[in-house]
């Protein structure tokens, strides 16, 4: 299923990585942020929304290591951020889709206002299709279910596909083995 997910997600211009553990993933994410030129001024910051990945990590140390990285995802911080990092709940193989219970507004701010969205996911939380997702995650579990398939796109002018309208221009999906602890 992972191979199918990767193929489908890449077909809609998402980038897909898979890493063996949290440390390797952290290096990849920090590398991405540095490559994007994340810095501590408006328009160049990064916001990292609350996620299981961060538990037990020293956020202050991370913020010192990378100036401009914020963990308080307010409306203002997100609006001035270039990169947003969130952790997704499930992946859907047949369409290359990520799913998240997005009740908490910071999850949506970080993934919709930014230019680059880094989505963390667990390869063990892979489902075949939409009906399977609805059995795991529906209105009984979340008031705002968000499905994301590739970056923001439009073809409204002359049917020419253009990436990045109101949402992120780039979606990087980072699968981390054991992210959710086998949940």
């Amino acid at each position: 299923m992972f191979a199918m997910f990767k193929a489908r997600a890449e077909a809609v211009s998402a980038e897909v990585h898979r890493l063996a553990g949290r440390e390797e993933a952290m290096e990849l994410v920090l590398g991405l942020l540095q490559a994007e030129g994340v810095a501590d001024h408006a328009g160049a910051r990064a916001v990292w929304a609350e996620s299981g990945f961060l538990s037990g990590l020293d956020r202050n140390a991370l913020a010192r290591r990378l100036p401009g990285l914020r963990f308080d995802v307010t409306r203002e911080n997100a609006a001035g951020a270039k990169v947003g990092i969130t952790e997704m709940d499930w992946a859907i193989a047949s369409t290359g889709t990520l799913a998240q219970a997005s009740d908490r507004v910071e999850q949506r701010l970080a993934s919709s206002l930014t230019e680059l969205h880094v989505a963390l996911a667990d390869p063990d939380r892979m489902l075949p299709d939409l009906p399977a997702l609805f059995r795991k995650l529906g209105p009984a579990q979340t008031r705002y279910l968000a499905l994301i398939t590739g970056p923001s796109r439009t073809a409204d002018i002359e049917r020419v596909l253009t990436i990045g309208v109101h949402g992120p221009r780039r979606l990087v999906i980072v699968f981390v083995d054991g992210l959710k602890g086998g949940a």
């Binding site: 919709s112 705002y144 409204d156 109101h166």
Partner: protein
Amino acid sequence: MRKTFRESVAQALENSNLTGALGRFSEAYRVSRAKAYEGLDFEAIRQQIVRIKGSAAERLDELAARFKESAERAGAKVFIARSPREARDRIVQIAKENGVRSVVKSKSMASEEIHLNRALEEAGVSARETDLGEWIIQLAGQRPSHMVMPAIHLTKEEVADIFSKEVEERLSADIPRLVRVAREQLRGKFLAADMGISGANVAVAETGSIVIVTNEGNARLATTLPRIHVALVGFEKLIEKLEDVAPILTALPRSATGQLLTSYVSVITGPTPNTDGTPKDLHIVLLDNRRNDMASDPRFRQALQCIRCASCLNVCPVFRLVGGHVFGKTYTGGIGAILTAWFDALEESDDIQALCIQCGSCKEVCPGGIDIPGLILEIRRRVALEKGQTLVQKAVFSVVNNRRLFHAMLRTAAVAQAPFRKGRFIRHLPLFLADLTEGRSLPAIAPKPFRDLFRSIEQPRGTKEKVAFYGGCLIDFAYPETGAAVVKALNKAGLEVLFPEAQTCCGAPARYSGAYEVAGQNARDNIEALLAEDVKYVVSACPTCTVALKEEWARTLESLGDNASLARAGQLAAKAIDFSTLVKELVDQGRLRLVPGAERPRATYHDSCHLKRTLRAEQAPRQLLGEAGVELTEMFEADVCCGMGGSYSVKLPEISAPMLARKLKSIGDTGAKLVATDCPGCVMQLRGGLDQAGSDVRVRHTAEILAERIA
């Protein structure tokens, strides 16, 4: 048809931006749609949607009440609006009560339907569209020309002009740059707005959830940043269960844009916290606006199965020429003609529905299983009942309905046409009839009709099986040689052919004009003539006539409530068969053998609309031609209508002509010098076009080619 409407058709046809962009898109769409459904059973998905939405349409009010209860339990406020006015008033009231000054909107066709933006502006609230296409047309002061791609009629240069005015800076026609401008311009509006207005693609009664599908991400922002969210949702979006969302989300993106899924799907069930920690003020306005009336009409209830994917527009050979500003109002294309008749008024749809050529392409791809061409005919019938027919129509049909007079006139015409005749064509007609020969010559009426020719063909005696041949007007009076070929083939298989003299016009011209009484009389006359003797088959070499024999006579009589004739129509339908299907049967049974000649002619095959999409017999003629030694090269879009459409080419020659031109180009591109087709109407259209173009390509009915290759 009103003169102003006719002029707008002419303008659209001259707009090469429009026809260019739409034409290219419609070609690409067919490919991307097919690819998106790869590995899936479209028919099974369609049946699921028909079941889900069909059952919802039977109980709209019940589902609306249940949705209200569920959504309110989750904390939303639900208002049921019976009219556009009630919906507008409610939304304006919410804005006023909450001191709303600015609104951001994500795409909502229902808001276009009720003219919400105007109502908000009048109340002093600025409403900004944020879907790129909608924003473009809002700035341009236009209305959407397509349900999914509202600004498809504009070029990038025009968009650059529109944006340049808005940002007061000269912008070049660079699409990524224009998209970037839209992002920058609208980002501030999103952050400043007090209210977000969205539509919804699905509303789930059991959970009170709304499902919103977008690609740009504007709905996520509009439902997240402003403190108030109002969703305006048509009753047809209601379904009962959450599990029923999956089939709709499977079909909608695939049918709309050839995507497996759109970039974003949001399922919202009750309010979530705002960025300042307060709960979102979530309002859902359910809009009836005659959807209940539609549901209580047994013919039109199925139109509520529409999921607004616009695939009916994307495959329509007329839409791709004229676009949605001509072909539709708020809702465009085939489904638009139907929705306009209900949401606006029957007479509003009169001109729009007349654009439908009845080729059936939309019905093939509709994921809601809606018989769009059938419903358009029903509108035509109702308009004809309400308005009556025009004097010309009345005169024409009174002649068609009088078989002896009709046939006598055709014989007279065979003589009277002499001054205009060039060989077997009429190339120019005088004055007001000139449009009829614009880009297409008409066939000359044969000096000796098939009914006279038939008497000279001796029939085999002592055969066990008899078959009645239904000629139809074109074979009888223009192409008797096609009839002779049919008879020859059937005789060779040992069948005795009868040609009942009392047969007359199949009634299609009357039916397609909504004149059901006339069509009904044609049906009754023909049924009696064709069932007078005990025959095994009733065969026709005209697919439109075959469809009349097999289906439409019964449907017409049913509409007229003529139950006495209905049973006879059923008996006839069971015997009716098209020429190629019958010959294929005879060949398979070993009763007829085709042998290739010394030369193997290269040809291309044109699918007639009725043979392919109603009779589903596209393979039989291809296989038979192959056995007869014809080497077929498939043309591009072989099954797209040639623009004949019976009397359509007479009523709307300005649309028929460019359809024909496209077809002739596809034929020319194959390099074949012979076109085979099973329909005498298509033969007439294609031959006429090739004759005017001075082409050396020949068009022949399949029957004529096969008759020469029978052992």
